[in-house]
């Protein structure tokens, strides 16, 4: 009991080192400035500022969009291990995962927005619909999903928000009081109510995230019969699996970074071990499914599929496949995670996670771009696409927005549970 009181009176979950704080926000400021300039170019020059064409109409922004949707869905599914399946130790990362999932969705939607030819009409999908369009369903699923995430985050965090509001002083306490939405009780009963509702919302969220949000994003591509490379039933499943890969990796990174830089606690090695095993299992599944998909495609001897795979393996951007997807995404993490002592130490575990998080970006690029290089009909021009400077820098800026949001949240909100035993109220 007394520990909680101690913690909350000194409630300040910010960076432990001022130098780190300045360096980090300084870096973000630079990224945001550069991104801001690129976005201004995007707005004034229009879509001509991209390297997209009518042969390759989707590029980096779409790849980043599905990447962040995947990251979000993956992080969310990791959070359900804590709040629905109650796996031991995972309650420590519940809020990190949920908050990362929310921020990732914000980032994903920013990418969709900047990609629209008519950015001014971004609300049209809520005015006009098309029941046969996967995209029309998706935008609605995203809204529902973000609502679920925010609700979960609220129920997961409310008890601690109320404690801070009751015991700390200053603007943080005021903010936390606002965020409790008036439910300021810190009793055990209120904690139980929160957990009950957290679990219920999580249960709703699981099918939503798997089938609608990320599976649905996979369906968006898989239904495009004109692009045989995407047009397979396995495709949405690979989508979900690689999402879980990236989500688990992200949560591992966030957990290590937060404990080291912000909370200053010892890292829970058992938790790291469990996360590492999960991540390795997901990576193996992802690689195996991708191999199956490739085998089916190559065995079909369908010229379009074959040539698309040749583009992936040996084309202009094949380095992204070999270095990032295979090297960063699969080989490096598997090597690191295969050794028990590395898996249990923060630095190797976090770097395996980081490599995966970066590697999956290449997975997304290799999903989006290659099937748009080959023309849909023989006799039409071939595409060639490498993102333009504006596309890279806007992407950097949008990612920086996400990092900024996450850092602010991590500094202000009680993402780390205020007590080590998860299931208690103050009067237990």
């Amino acid at each position: 009991m007394s520990t909680i009181t101690d913690i909350t009176e000194r409630y300040d979950p910010g960076f432990r080192s001022e130098t780190v704080r300045y360096a980090w926000y300084g870096l973000l400021a630079v990224l945001l400035l550069v991104g801001g300039w690129a976005t201004w170019r995007r707005l004034t020059v229009g879509m001509a500022s991209t390297n997209l064409s009518s042969v390759t109409p989707w590029g980096a922004w779409v790849a980043f969009y599905i990447y962040f949707v995947g990251l979000s869905a993956g992080a969310f599914l990791v959070s359900t291990l804590a709040n629905v399946f109650e796996v031991e130790g995972f309650e420590q990362i519940d809020r990190d995962a949920l908050f990362a999932a929310v921020v990732s969705m914000v980032v994903a939607l920013l990418f969709v927005w900047v990609d629209l030819g008519r950015m001014d009409r971004m609300y049209y999908p809520f005015v006009w619909r098309q029941p046969t369009s996967a995209l029309s369903w998706e935008v609605h699923a995203y809204v529902a999903y973000v609502a679920v995430l925010v609700t979960e985050l609220y129920f997961s965090m409310r008890l601690d928000l109320a404690r801070v509001a009751a015991r700390a002083r200053g603007w943080r306490a005021t903010l936390c009081r606002l965020l409790t939405l008036g439910r300021t009780s810190t009793s055990a009963a209120s904690g139980r109510t929160d957990r009950r509702w957290l679990k219920r919302t999580g249960l709703v969220g699981i099918p939503l995230a798997i089938f609608m949000v990320h599976g649905g994003t996979g369906v968006l591509f898989a239904v495009a019969k004109a692009r045989p490379y995407w047009n397979s039933g396995l495709f949405p499943i690979i989508f979900v699996v690689s999402a879980v890969v990236s989500g688990t990796a992200l949560v591992t990174v966030l957990y290590v970074v937060r404990t080291k830089l912000i909370a200053g606690d010892a890292v829970d090695r058992d938790l790291l071990d469990r996360l590492g095993q999960l991540l390795a299992a997901f990576v193996v599944t992802d690689a195996a499914l991708t191999a199956i998909e490739a085998l089916i495609a190559i065995n079909s001897l369908h010229p379009h599929e074959l040539e698309t795979w040749l583009v992936v393996l040996f084309g202009e951007m094949s380095w992204s496949f070999w270095w990032f997807m295979v090297g960063f995404g699969w080989v490096f993490p598997l090597v690191v995670l295969s050794k028990r002592s590395w898996r249990r130490s923060p630095f190797p575990a976090a770097s395996a996670g980081l490599f995966v998080v970066v590697g999956i970006v290449a997975v997304r690029f290799n999903i989006v771009v290659p099937p748009q290089i080959l023309p849909v009909m023989e006799g039409l021009p071939h595409g060639s696409y490498v993102p333009s400077t504006v596309e890279w820098l806007t992407s950097l800026g949008i990612v920086a927005v996400g990092l900024l949001l996450y850092s602010l949240g991590a500094e202000i909100l009680p993402l780390k549970p205020l007590e080590s035993t998860p299931h208690g109220g103050d009067d237990t």
Binding site: M47, L116, R118, A226, E378
Partner: protein
């Protein structure tokens, strides 16, 4: 039809119109000089002409006019005046009857007749309206690969750089020296089951009753999903580029695609940022003209018409054993047929 007062779509208001009017005035003959050459009264001619203009402007009724001049004209022109029928006073509809038309040897027949036949045409057209399904048949044996259709299309639809509703794909078969070449022109297929329509999240692209797949530029958000879905590569994104360096005033007017006049091409305004495609020249079909590519084809390889009318040429051609569609396996059921 639209009101006659409105400027025609794609015909800009010319700022030099006043100068043009002045030119007409300059060229006009002096009425007094002209009338003096005749044996009739000059002052009467001028007075009648001026009042006739007032009748034209609606400032004077034609009854009042003839009351004023009937006697003077009869005195001046005698028998000729009495024998020439005057539709303005003789008949309420201001027409002359067949007999008189004959006696005056009017080549087009009586006005009544002309009007009647016009009505007939209009009636026939309106009967047909609403149940056509526009289709196209392209004879690959006749196509010489000259790309005239592509050029005509660019000129008609005034498409910007990078947007070409029609292309001619060239396929080479065989190995040297046994090489043959097929030219396959590719407009939008106006598919009966269009995947582009299926995927559009805002229903901005949809099939019209006449079979043409429309893009509503005012609704399209530019997500380009339809371009991903189209198996024929028939859709193009308007990146906002212009031919300003190549052609003077290239963006001054736009084609009234789908019958909508959008005025001059403006940065950041639709169709910039939208997806575009061939519309079978709907704006031309609506005024009874063939699509520009069909009209221009030098080899007469392209035919457009109503696939719902079993007697139309396109229906017959599409039924021939030579006919096929591109990518039939996609299940899109294109309304563009090719003849082997």
């Amino acid at each position: 039809m639209s009101g006659t007062d409105e400027p025609l779509p794609s015909v800009p208001d010319d700022p030099r119109r006043e100068a043009l009017d002045a030119m007409v005035d300059r060229e006009a003959l002096d009425p007094r000089d002209e009338l003096e050459k005749t044996t009739y009264r000059t002052d009467l001619g001028i007075a009648m002409a001026e009042d006739a203009r007032r009748v034209g402007r609606g400032e004077l009724s034609s009854e009042a006019y003839w009351q004023k001049y009937d006697r003077a004209a009869a005195a001046e022109f005698g028998d000729d005046y009495r024998e020439t029928p005057n539709p303005a006073v003789d008949r309420a509809e201001q027409t002359i009857d067949d007999e008189i038309a004959e006696s005056l040897s009017c080549s087009v027949g009586s006005m009544d007749g002309v009007a009647e036949s016009l009505e007939g045409v209009a009636a026939e057209e309106s009967e047909g309206e609403g149940d056509e399904k526009w289709g196209m048949v392209i004879d690959l044996q006749k196509c010489v690969g000259c790309d005239s259709c592509t050029v005509a299309c660019k000129a008609e639809n005034r498409t910007p750089p990078g947007v070409t509703y029609n292309v001619v794909m060239e396929e080479e078969h065989g190995e040297y020296p046994d090489v043959t070449r097929t030219n396959v022109p590719r407009p939008c297929m106006q598919c009966d089951n269009p995947p582009c329509v299926q995927v559009c999240p805002v229903s901005a692209t949809y099939k019209m009753e006449n079979g043409v797949v429309n893009v509503d530029y005012d609704r399209c958000i530019g997500c380009r999903y339809c371009m991903i879905a189209c198996p024929y590569g028939a859709r193009y994104f308007d990146f906002g580029e212009n031919y300003d360096d190549e052609v003077d005033g290239a963006g001054e007017i736009q084609s009234p695609e789908y019958g909508v006049d959008r005025g001059p091409r403006t940065d950041g305004e639709s169709p910039v940022g939208n997806v575009r495609k061939c519309s079978f020249c709907t704006h031309r079909l609506n005024r009874g003209e063939e699509p520009a590519c069909v009209e221009t084809c030098i080899g007469d390889a392209r035919n457009a018409g109503d696939l719902n009318d079993p007697d139309s040429e396109v229906s017959k051609l599409a039924d021939s054993s030579r006919a096929f569609q591109l990518k039939e396996a996609e299940g899109t059921d294109p309304n563009v047929y090719y003849l082997k």
